[in-house]
């Protein structure tokens, strides 16, 4: 029998994913045009097996984009800090200087409705709910980066209390993906 499993975004200030001890750190300006360049810099020494083609780059790029665009709102005076550790697994902490993800609970409600529609095979309702649209979403926002992220970051994805910092980790099995 099928069972609906609903994941959600979690806030936990004291989570161990925010322990940056031993991690390397990089700091970037809020320059939207350079998001993929910043991501490539962080991953310059990343083991090939962790990259899974360009999947790791794509997923990290989403977090960098969210911090620069939605967190810092492309304000050039605000910085983005990325802590990273690519030993044994891919682990990152990304902090922006914005007001935090204030729509987190609303996003969780949206995601529950979306996944329920999918579970019930109500594809018309699901298609209507496929992308999250918040009060500040623009036409270029995909509205789905956190959905894939919940699946991809298989060791956890946690927001801090201020919701302007996210900790994520992806584990690999024998250098290959746990996914698929």
């Amino acid at each position: 029998m099928k069972k609906l499993i609903l994941r959600k975004l979690i806030v936990d200030e004291r989570n161990e994913l925010f322990d940056a001890q031993g991690m390397r750190c990089a700091e970037f300006p809020s320059d939207f045009a350079r998001i993929r360049e910043f991501t490539a810099q962080v991953l310059a020494d990343c083991p090939r097996a962790f990259r899974e083609g360009n999947l790791l780059e794509q997923q990290l790029s989403e977090i960098v984009k969210n911090g620069i665009k939605h967190g810092n709102r492309n304000d050039p005076s605000k910085r983005l800090r990325v802590w990273y550790d690519l030993r044994k697994r891919a682990r990152f902490i990304v902090e922006d200087e914005g007001e935090g993800f204030t729509e987190l609970e609303k996003w969780n409600e949206f995601f529950a409705k979306r996944q329920t529609a999918l579970f019930n095979e109500d594809f018309d309702a699901f298609l209507d709910l496929a992308s999250y649209r918040g009060p500040r979403s623009d036409e270029n926002d995909g509205g789905n980066s956190l959905i894939a992220a919940l699946e991809y970051w298989n060791g956890g994805m946690i927001f801090n209390g201020a919701r302007n910092k996210i900790g994520v980790v992806r584990w690999f099995s024998g250098g290959s993906a746990c996914l698929d």
């Binding site: 699901f126 270029n140 995909g142």
Partner: protein, 115 residues
Amino acid sequence: MRRAIPQYRPMEWTVSEADEKGFENVVVKGDCDLYSGPAFARELLVRIAEGTRRLRIDFTGVDYLDSTGVGGIIRLLQEARKRGCELRFRGIAGSPRRVLRMSNILSLMKEEAGQ
């Protein structure tokens, strides 16, 4: 920090006249990302709104797809449903396929074998 040279390829696409089955064919190459994805979606949304009723998109040349690109595909699916446009996809592989599956969108896309 070592300066990395990004390996990304700007997205390009061509749209051909309708074939014998009435499908306009779109062949896409490069990275469907936050920089190129919006213009791509906008052009195809206009085509659907202006009357295209059969559209086939070939993603064989795309090996990078991010959430902006996925969002564009979602908007195309929504517009196609609204306007009664038949939308088909080809050549979705590698990490773009995995991103679409993780986003739960792949199952909504009608796929067909290449060439």
